[in-house]
């Protein structure tokens, strides 16, 4: 397999009157051909910045990037015809119709006129193509954006939060669209916060946190290498759950309280839980290891799991992967 997209050591510092902000801090990413690749990260972690840099909209402060084997931004204009992209809910000039908007793009990019009708059909906007974009709903604008990215039949499709504003039917259509595109040989890079969705459609993922890569690889690999050491704990009915939770927290456990049970996030050795509780004569009725899903791996890697009684601020995320478990 060949890499369609390669990024190494990417640096970007935004400078403004209020000071400097390091958005990307040596970020790496590799996407193989023919894959659907998920690009995940908490708010403000640098996803959009990465994609904008890749597409030549902003100048990086350091690092190397290549698309389809060509260095960018130096050779961007050679590969631009093969890259379709939407970056963070693109806006369109509101007074033009979808048809006009796409026709003008097609003309500027030397794309056949028939593609316009084809992509409008594909994203389900055929019957509304003659309406002004100003009158579109959020999801319709998003569909138009996807249509504009598909217009030039790209080899590499880059979609920044394409599901933003789509209805459940639309999300499902998007999912099968991605799969079909990937099967036809297109490589898709997809940034999204809907992790269930990513787990369903992506072959591989890159997780970014605070401007650095914290995990990468196929979805199965990422899940396996960060197997959740979480266990679900249920107590005998009528037993005071709060006491047990406080006891475990005092011993260093990361506890998340649910309605009728709680989970311990970092239980390397579940026996520890039963021993601590049994010493206080609290008995466990259920103790099941929770299956690792992308969401918990994501929360663990980025350190953005909600903690009770604290409001996490956007810039508070893990810089490096947390190490070790509790109770081992």
């Amino acid at each position: 397999m060949t890499a369609v997209l390669e990024i190494a050591g990417l640096q970007k510092t935004y400078r403004s009157r209020k000071g400097v902000r390091r958005a990307l801090d040596g970020f790496d990413m590799v996407v193989e051909a023919g894959q659907v690749h998920g690009f995940l990260g908490p708010n403000g972690s640098g996803k959009t910045t990465t994609l904008r840099t890749l597409l030549g909209l902003i100048t990086p402060n350091g690092g190397r990037m290549a698309i389809l084997g060509r260095e960018v931004p130096a050779h961007l204009s050679e590969v631009a015809g093969q890259v379709g992209a939407i970056v963070e809910s693109p806006q369109f000039f509101g007074n033009f119709t979808a048809q006009d908007t796409l026709s003008l793009l097609a003309e500027a990019g030397d794309v056949r006129k028939e593609r316009v009708t084809a992509v409008l059909e594909l994203v389900g906007l055929r019957d509304r193509a003659k309406d002004r974009v100003k009158t579109y709903s959020l999801g319709m604008k998003q569909r138009l954006a996807v249509a504009s990215a598909l217009l030039k039949e790209p080899k590499l499709l880059i979609l920044d939060e394409p599901a933003n504003g789509l209805d459940p039917g639309g999300i499902r259509e998007m999912r099968s669209l991605m799969r079909n595109l990937a099967e036809s040989g297109m490589t898709v890079v997809l940034s999204s916060h809907i992790l269930g969705e990513i787990q369903l459609i992506c072959d591989s993922v890159t997780i970014i946190s605070a401007g650095r890569r914290v995990a990468a690889g196929s979805v199965a690999d990422v899940l396996a290498s960060h197997t959740s050491s979480g266990v679900k704990v249920r107590l005998e009915p009528g037993v005071d759950m709060r006491g047990a939770v406080e006891l475990l927290r005092a011993n260093g456990a990361q506890v998340t309280v649910e309605h009728d049970h709680f989970t311990v996030g970092n239980a390397g050795n579940p026996a520890q839980i039963t021993r601590i509780l049994a010493e206080r004569e609290i008995y466990v009725s259920e103790l099941t290891p929770t299956a690792a899903d992308l969401e918990s791996v994501f929360l663990q890697l980025t350190g953005t799991a909600p903690v009770e009684g604290r409001n996490r601020q956007v810039d508070q995320s893990a810089v490096a992967a947390p190490t070790g478990g509790w109770g081992q």
Binding site: L55, G56, I58, A80, F92, L104, A108, G109, S148
Partner: protein
């Protein structure tokens, strides 16, 4: 080339462009209609009636004079008050001042050329600013750059599309405008004094008008692109106009700066269109035995004004291109 046609379509498809051009056309037609109805052709009967009226007024003034003379020389009146009295002469009542307004093409059309150029320049400025400003603020520019990552080419092509459109418009409007006023002059005045030299000078003036329109379009475009918003370009201009017209004018005249008008934009526009403008400083006196006090004067010529226009054009277009090249588009 495909980018150029796409940009021309984008520009002409915009309702903003169309509305402004329609408005301009209506205003121009209203001006032409006004000129048509306020002027009339001068023939023997108009000359005769003007002469009669001049003669009548002269007569009346003379009678008044004689009555006043008689009154002050009457016994009991103060004879000294007679001394300052002025006796009207035939020369004070010339028939030409009693002629109805008539459209002499050679004399009156240059002002109409300036009117057309000024109006088109204003429209070019606003349309240019809104064309690129709306692209920036709506995110259309970013979309386009995803398709064509050559930034200077994209901005340059947009500017080119704008300038070509306004060149075509100005040439067509000037031709029609000239045609309309030749018609008005023939119906309501005269084209008799039009020699080929006079026609040439009109054509050159229209050419200078074209340059003015194009510079205005480029300035609007450049400012809006620098500020990435239409409102920015319009704001800067309104600010500049207020500062220049009122603020600077007042301050300079308070400070008794010589030739304060030379700092005002319209003065330069007139210098450009009329080939020169002469500013005089009435606080000065260059005495000569022949003419008495002659004020100092400063003549602004069209090459000076042209240099200024070219300078502003290069500065603003250059700055917007440089900003386009180097800045982050987010």
């Amino acid at each position: 080339m495909s980018l150029y046609t796409a940009e021309t379509k984008r520009l002409t498809k915009r309702r903003f462009t169309r509305l402004f051009l329609l408005g301009t056309t209506l205003i121009l037609l209203a001006i032409a209609a006004g000129m048509f109805f306020t002027n009339e052709k001068v023939g023997p009967s108009q000359i005769a009636s003007a002469q009669a009226q001049a003669q009548q007024d002269f007569q009346r003034a003379t009678e008044q004079y004689q009555r006043d003379q008689a009154a002050c020389q009457a016994p009991g009146a103060n004879p000294a008050s007679c001394e300052g009295m002025y006796q009207p002469t035939q020369d004070d009542f010339q028939a030409q001042w009693y002629m109805p307004p008539t459209f002499d093409f050679r004399e009156n059309f240059p002002d109409m050329v300036t009117t057309l150029a000024a109006l088109l320049a204003l429209v070019a400025f606003i349309v240019g600013a809104s064309f690129v400003g709306a692209e920036w603020s709506s995110g259309g520019m970013m979309n386009l750059l995803l398709w064509r990552p050559q930034r200077l080419q994209v901005l340059g092509t947009k500017l080119l599309a704008l300038l070509v459109l306004f060149t075509v418009l100005t040439v067509v409007y000037s031709a029609i405008w000239t045609g309309i006023f030749v018609g008005i002059a023939e119906a309501r005045g005269t084209t008799d004094s039009m020699t080929s030299g006079a026609w040439q000078s009109i054509a050159l003036m229209e050419l200078r008008g074209l340059a003015l329109v194009l510079v205005a379009a480029a300035i609007g475009f450049g400012l809006a692109s620098l500020g990435r918003h239409t409102a920015m370009a319009l704001g800067v201009t309104i600010g500049a106009v207020i500062v220049f017209q009122f603020g600077l004018g007042t301050v300079l005249s308070l400070a008794k700066v010589k030739f304060a008008e030379a700092y005002l934009i319209p003065v330069w526009m007139i210098a450009w269109m009329d080939k020169e403008i002469k500013l005089e400083d009435y606080n000065s006196c260059n005495y000569s035995s022949a003419g008495g006090c002659q004020p100092d004067s400063l003549t602004l010529t069209w090459p000076m004004a042209g240099g200024l226009l070219a300078g502003i054009f290069v500065l603003i277009v250059g700055a917007s291109m440089w900003a386009m090249r180097s800045r982050d588009i987010t």
